[in-house]
Symmetry: none
Subunit: 221 residues, 4 copies
Amino acid sequence: MSAQQAQKQPRTAPKEVRQQQLIDATINVLAEKSISGTTMADVTGHAGLSMGIVSLHFKSKDNLLTSSLRHLAMELRDAWLVIFRDPTLTVPQKLMGIATASFDPEICSPKKIAVWFAFFGEARYRKVYREMAEEFDDERSDALEELCTALIEEGGYTDVRAEDLATTMECLCDGMWLNMILYPEWITPDYAEAQMTNLLVRHFPKHFDAPRHLPKPCGPT
Amino acid sequence: MSAQQAQKQPRTAPKEVRQQQLIDATINVLAEKSISGTTMADVTGHAGLSMGIVSLHFKSKDNLLTSSLRHLAMELRDAWLVIFRDPTLTVPQKLMGIATASFDPEICSPKKIAVWFAFFGEARYRKVYREMAEEFDDERSDALEELCTALIEEGGYTDVRAEDLATTMECLCDGMWLNMILYPEWITPDYAEAQMTNLLVRHFPKHFDAPRHLPKPCGPT
Amino acid sequence: MSAQQAQKQPRTAPKEVRQQQLIDATINVLAEKSISGTTMADVTGHAGLSMGIVSLHFKSKDNLLTSSLRHLAMELRDAWLVIFRDPTLTVPQKLMGIATASFDPEICSPKKIAVWFAFFGEARYRKVYREMAEEFDDERSDALEELCTALIEEGGYTDVRAEDLATTMECLCDGMWLNMILYPEWITPDYAEAQMTNLLVRHFPKHFDAPRHLPKPCGPT
Amino acid sequence: MSAQQAQKQPRTAPKEVRQQQLIDATINVLAEKSISGTTMADVTGHAGLSMGIVSLHFKSKDNLLTSSLRHLAMELRDAWLVIFRDPTLTVPQKLMGIATASFDPEICSPKKIAVWFAFFGEARYRKVYREMAEEFDDERSDALEELCTALIEEGGYTDVRAEDLATTMECLCDGMWLNMILYPEWITPDYAEAQMTNLLVRHFPKHFDAPRHLPKPCGPT
DNA sequence: CATGAATGAGTCTTCATTCAT
DNA sequence: AATGAATGAAGACTCATTCAT
């Protein structure tokens, strides 16, 4: 929400609204200026509010950043968890769903990926992230491994190790995120999804169809 | 080189020596404090030199950072290029060599990966990186694709697309780098190399042996 | 009154009650944090009221502080004036009474002395104090001098000058206040009273008995 | 030194000179604005230097204030210690010298007294003062007591307790300091010295001559 | 009368850069 | 070529005061 739009907002608002408003503004500014370049004046200006509002609602810049990171982490967790727990989905559907959840436009807009890497670029926030997300990351690893194991048994795949494949899926996913901001013309969300599908087809040919082969847009330029 | 050692050094030194000394110090400090937390006083203090030396040799902080990034990029490029151009190596050896070059201790120490992601965390330096390295990154992509194509033809692999596999290799590599600093107990250099081998075995079973399956240390914790 | 107790109080209260409540809170907070460290949020929080209440009743922080100083000054003036005007007391009783009134626990609790010196520490409030209290201070000086003069005539003391003794009494009193907060183990209220008695005994031996000689607690440590 | 004069000073100066320059400026500004009102910009502006210089030489505002307090405390200590240790002085001369050292124009200018009370007005700096000066204050108490004891024995004074008189001297001194800034027309340095002499004459009539009786200037107005 | 969210001017502090030596 | 004292712009944070409810 821009400052212009914000001028029409009421002078006071519930705590939750203001906090979310500030977190949204923070993510927007972070994407552009990263952590070192993001000032509280930038954030509050973007939200159409006054400078003191951050201290009022978040006590400090660090806490605002941490809260914003938590917001992103929760959003991502919810995205795959809702798939994993959906009783109407089959195992292959769940596996594919989790694999591609990271590339949902809501989750992996260029803006949000930039913010993720802004945080990963600072040792301090890597630690913060680990402390807040270690449990969820474990859960996701376990979920992927569990689903892979189920498929391996079902399909009698003797050459696939669930553990290794789960790791490959997660790391490939992260690597494509990185290249999405480095070379957005090379790795697009659609291409990333096709790559994930590719990986699953190659390991579980009895369960997955060949992906559409997207023309690689233009190399890592 | 620590400040203590540095005190014994002569008061003057050739341009190149001083510049490399400062770049080394920069990489060391960046790994710990990232970009926003790295001050010129940190860098010069770590190098055992005076504050004014940065302006003398690099004109500005930004230029010192850019030079440091270039140093890392060149180091990485040299690592895979020397393999690619080595006439004594076979195609599979080259492919494996390039795939695992990123995990050479000299290239991917925890310190250096942290610095890479410190730069990737800032939009400004992603742009700088692209401008200085997109040529090399293209070259590497082309090299990988060329090697894959050679193997596909040689082995008659009909289900492998060179382009996609090259992309997978690069992204998987980057994703493991990220998880190496996020969860160093999970992804170790040895495990990363095994994962890369795994990928090649699965695509080119006639050319690569099964990798040693390292026990996955402890999940993404 | 603590915030907890205050929560039970009715939402509205007469002007005078609220004002006194705020002055009490101000004195309590000032004692601990002095003027620079006392915020309106501290004061209203201590009183269990909302932030806006200060503006409502006192218009500004400065006015609240000035009112608090006046409250202290009036309290002190009342303490000695009631003695001076008490028709049942003899001259020596009055002199002794005024001399020791400053050390009455109600007047000179550690908290209140700290507040006095908080105000004396600021040129601005020294000026305010002078404007509001110089009349009373003059009156007290005159009262002491008058009482001393009476005793001098009565006892035929030829070596005492009423004016100088009155000054000595007042300054000694102030100096003991200061040392009470600097070194509370050294100067206690009891010791201070004994010192004042000592002074009177030495100047008016025919009218005052020897004081109890309190063991000096432990030096200015 | 004013900003105008300061403009002619060299751009760099030895550490000690700059630090003393800043402490002098601090004392000047503190006298006028007290602690809450003194900004680093005030201090550096008064010294004719730039804002960053405080952090460079004193790390923080608090440390600059503490250093300034220490400077005052040392100055006062030196003033009486040099008298106490002067082998050419007699015991009465030393006693009188210490008693009146506090009123030396160099020590008790209106400016410096104001600064003393600015510090005494804050609990934080009372603690700091105690920690830095407790030893010296003890020494001075001991010195006064020792000198009084010597006179008592020499003169056969049976009605004087060295301990109590030393305390009276110190507190009277402090009280006159306070009234010097509250009512400078009432208590002048000369009058304060006369008061101290008075006290000594009354206790040790065989050793001290009657003081000149200064006309009390104008009451506590 | 009373509330407390919001404001924004003011302060301390940091730090890249400059410059006299 | 090298030093490091000095600069001053910029940022995070504080807090007296305002105002819509």
